[in-house]
């Protein structure tokens, strides 16, 4: 292999991406710190969406134009795989926080173990999980927690099924069966959207009727951070699936060259696996 290396040409998109990302950060920061800066945030977020559309469109066109060699393809694959690993570690931080408070912090506040001295802070406090009564009653815990065997179970089934349907679509793509690919991809996308709707219903229910809010002590904090970031990732995954669907309808991808499809599929499976962890450790146990 002594053929010429392929190096992609320069592009204006990265620097525009920096500007809009920076605008988002400045807007969000000043909104939270000083209550101003909404225009920066809006411009930033809209900009991020536009830049991603533009940047990816260029990449798709280059790919369709046959510019990329197998080495470039491997670079994209490895990049995506390591990106998902970084997402795994992001969720690991929140799962770590959940396990730490459940196993150590809350029992210690009740006087258990070597750090039992912290029980002196709130002598009345009794540890439990889910934590319904916070150490300091002024914080206030939830009245009730979400029943895992209703909406969360339905959502689990939906998401697991969607992973299966996406795999069927993938196999159809590899077998060059375009109608089957289209149908199963649409089914997957719909399942993703149903998941998000159910999650929304559950949130409204929890917030309004169970007293389960972000402010409801550590249970509410971990509940909403874990399910919230997961929901955000499902949303991103659904957008990715929608883009893939549009490309499939346009006739993109071939049986042996469809990196973007695989990357989207990896991401969707990752989101699915995270949900199983959530279902087990946030809802059930």
């Amino acid at each position: 292999m002594t053929s010429q290396y392929y190096v992609p040409p320069t592009s204006k998109w990265p620097i525009i991406a920096v500007v809009v990302t920076g605008s988002t950060a400045i807007g969000a920061g000043s909104l939270m710190s000083y209550g101003t800066g909404l225009p920066f945030l809006v411009v930033g977020l809209v900009g991020v969406a536009l830049v991603m559309a533009g940047w990816f469109r260029d990449v798709v066109n280059e790919s369709m134009g046959g510019l990329y060699d197998s080495q470039m393809d491997r670079s994209f694959r490895q990049g995506m795989a390591w990106f998902i690993f970084s997402e795994v570690m992001f969720f690991a931080a929140f799962f770590g926080a959940l396990f730490y408070v459940r196993v150590f912090a809350v029992p210690w506040l009740d006087g258990e173990g070597a750090k039992g001295v912290t029980a002196l802070l709130w002598p009345e406090f009794t540890a439990s999980w889910p934590l319904m009564d916070t150490p300091d009653p002024s914080v206030g815990g939830p009245w009730e927690v979400v029943n895992p065997w209703k909406l969360p179970l339905i959502n689990t089934l939906i998401l697991v099924t969607s992973s299966v349907t996406l795999t069927i679509a993938h196999h159809a793509l590899k077998a060059d069966d375009r109608p089957k690919l289209r149908q199963w991809l649409i089914v997957t996308l719909l399942l993703g959207l149903v998941f998000l709707v159910v999650q929304g219903v559950e949130y409204v229910e929890a917030w309004n009727h169970l007293g389960l809010t972000l402010q409801a002590g550590i249970y509410g904090s971990t509940f909403f951070m874990l399910t919230g970031f997961h929901g955000l990732h499902v949303t991103i995954g659904a957008i990715v699936l929608a883009v893939l669907l549009v490309r499939v309808l346009k006739g993109h991808f071939s049986a042996d060259n469809h990196f973007a499809f695989e990357a989207g599929a990896w991401y969707w499976h990752f989101v699915d696996v995270v949900w199983i962890g959530l279902f087990l450790f946030v809802y059930v146990f």
């Binding site: 920076g22 046959g66 510019l67 490895q78 969720f91 770590g96 912090a105 750090k115 972000l214």
Partner: protein
């Protein structure tokens, strides 16, 4: 083959493609815009290096503000509130703005050249990664001018100082950490993809230079722990703005949770700042000892061992916070275990020097200075790992002495060594030996004068992060301040050296600038042309691998 590429270019008519066909010598924009849109690994490497040099002086100036106030007991120049902002910003800027980007800049410049690649694997992502940094640090520095001042809770930003009692600008600070984190993660992904995917045919993993190896492992650490930092600052953000209870015991959370999460990031972060330094020293010592590196394979395994252990030691920063006894013992022993692979490395460097034909050019001086003074910092680290001793040392100037020894004559000296080593390749001219030697010796004197007395003031009980102190610490502090100014101003010599080399005054360099040097980067002309390898260069492991027998 070139015609194939341009034909394909014609088929696709996107604006990006229209700007030039990349693989060769045509370039779209010129002037300042060229640097803004560049996707070339050498140009981006230079941007990273220049940015980190600028940050070194910004963070260094803050250190001198601190040393000015501490020159004498009592409050003479600044208020305690501002002092706290200076210690915090100094730490954040040096860690995230100076040391880390300098190593990323070196990686950008050298990894593609050392493995025979045409560029980084994902060149456009590379541009995005770099330009996020000036934005992140612009935001960080701007907090100093905001209502309520900038971050004042120390570079480790422990809750609840950084949540309940934080200045209003803290959400801004969190945003800047997020941006710097995104930059690091994407940069690390790019480095891993480059190393795994763009090596010239025939170069196995065990044929890579140790700089490439150490960066591969560093990049893995970055991808593993920067997201945890992102997670912890997000929890802070929620606690501050949305009423969550992560670090609030009243709601069932725990401020100590912050410390666990922070140091799960923070300890690997320490190795992120030192493993590439190990790689640099492992190239420079063999070059100027005119021998092959002793124990190549053991160097690789030791680096991997250090990286894996780094995930299991984080609570050694928290011995006095009140963790259970089992935890104290576990983290004490796991920490001390790290001394073993680190000792392997130091042994290997010394064994490489043994019976070598050593010459003392400036890069070698910095590398040898690294070996001696990093070891001092390593040994005080072992002292700090001992739980009962740490109860005495914790939060004293002994800790400050320890981590400055591993970061300044450690990481920073290695960066300087690398700069002198590769400057002929970058600019086509050797760095001035005379000025370089002045730079080295003044730095050695300055750094030891600054930080060695801190061992004593720390052992005598002087706490860190205070603007005023008891009279018995006055002499040590005066010495530290004099040393600090000496060290700070001697870095200006480096700027002078760099400008001279860039302007092309001095001795012209050959392609193979150092006679004892190994590696593909010395097969291309000095200065290296903008595009080095259009086709994979030949590589024969039998005669070119650093692991050959």
């Amino acid at each position: 083959m070139a015609s194939d590429t341009s034909q394909a270019t014609v088929q696709v008519s996107t604006s990006a493609v229209a700007q030039g066909d990349g693989a060769h010598d045509s370039h779209g924009p010129t002037g300042i815009l060229r640097w803004v849109v560049t996707t070339n690994h050498k140009e981006i490497g230079s941007l990273y290096l220049l940015f980190s040099l600028a940050m070194l002086f910004v963070g260094g100036s803050m250190a001198l503000v601190i040393r000015t106030e501490l020159f004498q007991p009592g409050l003479q120049f600044i208020q305690p509130e501002f002092f706290n902002q200076m210690t915090t910003m100094h730490g954040l800027i040096m860690v995230f703005g100076a040391i880390m980007p300098a190593f990323v800049g070196l990686a950008n410049w050298m990894i593609p050249m050392q493995i025979g690649a045409p560029d980084m694997a994902l060149p456009r992502l590379n541009n995005f990664s770099f330009w996020l940094l000036p934005v992140a640090f612009g935001i960080l520095l701007s907090t100093l001018f905001m209502e309520g001042g900038g971050p004042n809770f120390g570079w480790t930003f422990y809750a609840p100082l950084s949540t309940t009692y934080a200045p209003p600008s803290t959400s801004f600070f969190i945003m800047s950490i997020h941006l710097a984190g995104i930059s690091s993660i994407l940069g690390a992904i790019n480095i891993i993809a480059t190393i795994f995917n763009l090596r010239t045919p025939g170069m196995r993993l065990m044929d890579m230079s140790l700089f490439v190896w150490t960066w591969l492992i560093t990049a893995f650490l970055l991808i593993a722990v920067m997201p945890v930092l992102a997670g912890v600052v997000t929890m802070m953000l929620m606690d501050i703005n949305f009423g969550t209870s992560f670090f609030n015991a009243a709601g069932g959370g725990d401020p100590v949770l912050f410390q666990h999460l922070f140091w799960f990031f923070g300890h690997p972060e320490v190795y992120i700042m030192i493993l590439p330094a190990f790689g640099i020293v492992s190239l420079i010592v063999p070059t100027f000892a005119r021998k092959r590196l002793f124990g190549y394979a053991s160097m690789v395994y030791a680096t991997a061992a250090i990286a894996l252990l780094s995930f299991l030691v984080w609570a050694h920063h928290m011995f006095t916070v009140g963790i259970p006894l089992v935890g104290e013992l576990f983290f004490m022993y796991s920490t001390m275990l790290i001394a073993v692979p680190t000792g392997v490395k130091i042994f290997n460097w010394i064994a490489t020097l043994f019976r070598g034909s050593i010459s003392f050019e400036v890069p070698m001086l910095f590398a040898l200075g690294f070996i001696v003074m990093f070891t001092i910092g390593g040994l005080s680290g072992v002292m700090l790992a001992i739980v009962p001793a740490d109860f005495q040392y914790h939060d004293t100037y002994f800790v400050v002495a320890h981590f400055h020894y591993v970061l300044v004559p450690g990481a920073l000296f290695a960066i300087m060594a690398a700069a002198y080593y590769w400057m002929p390749k970058w600019t086509g001219y050797y760095a001035s030996e005379t000025l370089g030697k002045w730079h080295f010796w003044l730095s050695v004197i300055g750094v030891n004068l600054t930080f060695f007395p801190m061992h004593f003031s720390g052992l005598a009980g002087m706490p860190r992060r205070i603007p005023d102190y008891a009279l018995q610490f006055a002499d040590f502090n005066m010495l530290s301040s004099i040393g600090g100014f000496l060290f700070g101003f001697s870095q200006l010599i480096f700027v002078w050296v760099l400008i001279k080399a860039i302007r092309g005054s001095g001795e012209k360099a050959h392609a193979h600038a150092w006679e004892g040097a190994d590696g593909l980067e010395w097969t291309v002309p000095s200065p290296a042309p903008l595009h080095t390898f259009d086709t994979p260069p030949p590589f024969d492991p039998l005669t070119e691998s650093p692991s050959r027998h």
